[in-house]
Amino acid sequence: MTDYDPQSLEGIPQSGLERLEQNREGLYTSDLSVNEFLLVTEAGFDPVGLVVGSSIFHIGFQVAGPTTSCELTVLSQAMYSARHLAMTRMEEEADQLGADGIVGVRLEIGRYEWGQNMAEFIAIGTAVKHRDGVLHRAPNGRPFQSDLSGQEFWTLLRTGHRPVGMVMGSCVYHVGRRGPLRTISQTGRNVELPNYTQALYDARELAMQRMQSEAQELEAEGIVGVSLSETSHGWGSHVIEFFALGTAIVPTGARTAIEPPIPVLDLNDP
């Protein structure tokens, strides 16, 4: 990605700019639930608006030999850049609202019938701003992003950490089939298939490494809530996407230890 200009608004359409202008006048929208809203407010933040970013991407294709295990860089880059574009646009909206960050970010991939090799990458979240103007942005001056819910945001601040960004790593990998000779020589017994195992490992290694290097760029202390998912977006059974997504956090120093929890038995019927 090229260097980002924090003042840039180029990804946002005109109608979006108008909507954001309204938000800035004091009216806000948010997709926080009531409980989340109360907790975010308690933590000293006010919601300033619902922000979205989306990118419709044409995904190219790539051919791999049937027995080679390798990363499909074209697909990897497509998934990576598309998500990045959507997230950057969302961030620009938040930036225009003067927000400190975005909580509750959801990353979704939509597929439509009208586009064969197209996918829409959508990022939605609620921009929040600190009430007393304490800067909570990421070290590079951009609003932080996090997929934490309002409750998690509150808890995290209590442990003396704050989110600085959503970090992700993705890798699309082609798992090579085994050659016929090898298949025949091993018939009849339970055997491990080392090339498949290695392919799963490689894919995960690449995804995790990318996520880690993003976190290092943000000078984070660590990443919480990493969700690892393996999907094959209709590319056939031997192509998998390994996707790691988590929230990078940094210590704030303002550590208020959470009170000792009390075991509670809920007597409501589920």
Binding site: T159, N190, E192, Y196, E205, Q212, A220, V224, I240
Partner: protein, 362 residues
Amino acid sequence: MGFFARGEEEDAEQAESRARIERGGIPTRAEERLRALGTDGSLFTSGLSVNEFALLDRLGPRPLAQVMGASVIRTGWQFLPPLEPGKLFFSSSSPYAPLPTPTGRALQNLYTEPSLSQVRNYRWRTPVVCELDTLTAAWNMARRRALDRLWEEALQVGADAVVGVHLHRGDHDLGKGTVEYVVSGTAIRLPDSTGTSMPLLTDVSGQEYWRLHNSGHEPVGFVANTTVVFASPPLDARVRRLRTTSRNQELEELSRGFHAARDAVRAGLLAQVADARGTGAVGVEFSHSVHREKLALGSSIVSTSARGWHLGRLGLPYRVTGGSDVERRGWVITMHAAGTAIRTLRDPARPSVKTALRMGTR
């Protein structure tokens, strides 16, 4: 983008990683990354939710890295257990007839292939409920190897425990008859540890770990087991069921099959708990899948060396053809169970539990 470029020395590294995997280890790249994560002051990655993170933070342990293990196993051939060797009967007029014995004139164990009548009987009358050893071994081997790799990774980062171990049975269609396990968890280090201990695996979450810890128990290991059982009704039962299809009836062999599978899984878990020196297991979750399959009868002579002509006990020549082409259709029941073995410390504290009644609408 240099980010996605692959280097030249990739091939040598790939070969090295491949050799390590064949020995049951983890690839070089994973090892290097995890070592770096284990050093003090480095970044940590964790699959812990924020709530778990907060609770563990209060308790003392700190997360080090998210660790994973994977293994793909191709299953071998699975046969049904062989029939007993056939009995040889002599008519009294035969010159080879032995003297009558108190138990009758049948001679045991002369003929190593099932007789035609045995095969017919097997097909029509005998319900089959048996454990499928090859498939059972394949599942257990895949999980064992995946967990071993997870453990190896935890060892590399210098962890004391891995919490939230999650077993994921892969559903990639990587080929016919493959069994795949991917396990992941978060490696943690206790406050005053040297980072040289043997990591402990457990599938309890941060919250559950906290509760166990508070009430005076400690997890001692992760236990998991799989059993595959085959249940097949004989042909005559199937014919009977077809004729009386409007009636309610129990499918006895399926009931027996499920029972046998649960029993075997439970026995395996108990043995593992005892091995881990636990006093019990908590959070054991059973899951199962059932599919229909046709399996062939394993002949009692699987090795080719037994085939051909042999001399019996009385000097009678007999021939082993090795072909008894009996197949049974039936249900294959795959039963999985996983849980955490715990040990009760000397003085278990009774947790004081408050009850609450929410007054909200939901």
